[in-house]
């Protein structure tokens, strides 16, 4: 009887897991297959319609450009590694500065009505201003070095964090605040023990957005004139009508964006585990 049960269970188990893996497998095949099909159509069209390579290169030549930039020593001036390192370090440092300042200012606004009344209108005025338009000013103030790129990244990362930290802190459940009041907790204790963790899901959503914006800010600053970075690589390739290299640089940017997003998601899942498991 018990053996029958066990067999029955294992059979069911095998059946369901096979189904599930088949589903996942089919999805992967479809996704990759779709991509490959698109590339083939692209390759075919470029060949067939005789599109010149300075308008649209074939996928094969893009891959070749990508490989030629990667198949070099790490410190080669012709490779992609130095620009990647430059763009990555500048956007991450700018992101860190902007995020910290954003959380700090958002916290001050959430905690103090006076600060909120003073800053909120200006914060929103700056928010609607396309901040990319400030880039030329930033370059005047910070020069063509890393300073302007970090400043631009920080500026763009600042706003989503300020807004999200403010909103998150203000929407702390009133019951939790009442609990802290009943425990005669100080304002700082209430902030640290209850409000900040309550706002963490909002803050992480802001970090996710801010990271993407920081990368954008860095690239814009690089476009305006810099010695190094993926933005510079793109501008130089464009000047040489090496469109395949432009595409290769865009692919790299996409990969960097995805990796940064995944790092933040990973931190989010580790740090605010309670909301993640709450939803499932």
């Amino acid at each position: 009887m018990s053996r029958l049960d066990a067999e029955d269970l294992s059979f069911q188990g095998a059946g369901t897991s096979a189904n599930a893996s088949l589903g996942a497998f089919a999805r992967i095949v479809l996704t990759i297959g779709g991509g490959v099909a698109l590339l083939l159509v692209w390759e075919g069209c470029v060949d067939w319609l005789n599109v010149p390579p300075y308008i649209l290169p074939t996928p094969v030549s893009v891959l070749r450009a990508l490989w030629s930039g990667l198949d070099v020593p790490l410190d080669s001036p012709m490779g992609f590694y130095l620009p990647i390192a430059s763009t990555l370090s500048n956007s991450v440092s700018g992101f860190a500065i902007g995020a910290l300042l954003g959380i700090a200012v958002g916290s001050l606004m959430a905690e103090s009505r006076v600060v909120e009344i003073v800053l909120m209108p200006y914060a929103f005025a700056l928010q609607v201003l396309p901040k990319v338009a400030i880039a030329p000013l930033i370059v005047i103030w910070f020069g063509f070095g890393n300073g302007s790129k970090i400043a631009m990244a920080a500026l763009l990362a600042f706003f989503p964090l300020m807004v999200n930290a403010f909103t998150g802190l203000r929407t702390t459940e009133p019951e939790r605040l009442e609990l802290m009041q009943a425990l005669s907790a100080s304002r700082l204790e209430t902030y640290r023990v209850v409000k900040l963790p309550s706002a963490a899901p909002y803050i992480f959503a802001g970090l996710d957005m801010g990271m993407v914006y920081a990368l954008l800010g860095t690239i814009v600053a690089e476009f305006l004139g810099a010695q190094q970075g993926i933005g510079v690589t793109i501008v130089q390739a464009q000047a040489a009508t090496d469109v395949a290299s432009v595409f290769a640089a865009l692919i790299l940017l996409g990969v960097i964006g995805i990796v940064l997003h995944m790092v933040i998601r990973l931190c989010e899942r580790r740090i605010i585990h309670w909301t993640v498991r709450h939803k499932t």
Binding site: E178, Q181, A182, L183, S186, E189, I272, R277
Partner: protein
């Protein structure tokens, strides 16, 4: 025990309210009378249940005693001293467990010991409380891993962490299913008889109030006022198997229901 050993002084009721009322100001300058003037005394070690419909101001009553809000008029004292702000002699359990989801069970119970200029970490007491409420072995679980009843047990432990004189409970079992609720009532009675805290429990369940209370204070709505104060002289420990069958239980339940019905149909003056 210690309070009984001072017979020379005139016994002061643990909690005393004299002509206390609470009126809220509305935005447009009007006033809403949440609680009409009332008198109430609660003796040390008493288990008082406050029963009434939604909107009768029973939560306001609890928040007044907790020092979370101030009375508009009247004198409200705890151990003879006017209540001004939250007191460490008062532990409070809210309707929702209001646990902090990022803290483990034991850290939630420790919370009162690490905020509010309270720097006495007393892990023996915390573990004793968890043991008494059947939470031993769950110390490192997170609230979302617990059932509603278990979460409310953690909230009760947290309220008792500072070893307060008074335990205030605001419809603590209202969100639980009927069976869990009965079990929690039995456990609370046991916890109370062991610890001899003064308990004020807000509920809208007549059955719960009669089962648990030494006294049942009946409130009615608009404006909230006390319409009855009945001693419940049922023997303890009370049991869900037998107590609801006793004639006194049936009579008291009926009496409270009549008071509530009369309060509901009374015209507002």
């Amino acid at each position: 025990m210690e309070t009984a050993a001072s017979p020379t002084t005139v016994p002061v009721p643990l909690i005393s309210a004299a002509r206390v009322a609470k009126t809220y100001r509305t935005v447009d300058g009007g006033a809403i009378e949440a609680l009409a003037p009332f008198d109430l005394t609660v003796e040390d070690g008493e288990f008082v249940c406050v029963v009434g419909p939604t909107g009768c101001g029973k939560s306001t009553l609890l928040r007044l005693i907790a020092g979370l809000i101030e009375p508009s008029v009247g004198r409200l004292t705890l151990s003879g001293k006017r209540i001004a702000g939250a007191s460490r002699e008062v532990g409070i359990v809210f309707q929702n467990a209001t646990l902090l989801p990022w803290l483990t069970v034991i850290d939630n119970v420790r919370l009162p010991l690490r905020v509010g200029s309270w720097r006495v970490s007393n892990d023996d007491r915390v573990r004793e409380l968890l043991g008494m409420t059947g939470l031993a072995g769950f110390e490192n679980k997170y609230p979302y891993e617990l059932s509603g009843g278990m979460q409310q047990r953690v909230a009760i432990c947290r309220a008792l962490a500072r070893d307060p004189k008074v335990l205030l409970m605001d419809e603590p079992f209202g969100a639980l299913d009927a069976l869990t609720r009965e079990r929690m009532n039995t456990e609370l009675q046991q916890l109370w008889s062991m610890s001899r805290k003064t308990v004020i429990l807000i509920t809208h369940s007549i059955a719960e109030s009669v089962f648990l209370g030494d006294r049942v204070v009946v409130m009615s709505t608009r404006p909230g006022r006390i319409v009855g104060d009945l001693p419940i002289a049922l023997p303890r420990p009370r049991r869900f198997e037998t107590t609801p069958g006793e004639p006194a239980y049936v009579r008291l339940t009926r009496e409270i229901r009549a008071l509530l019905d009369r309060g509901a149909s009374a015209p507002t003056q």
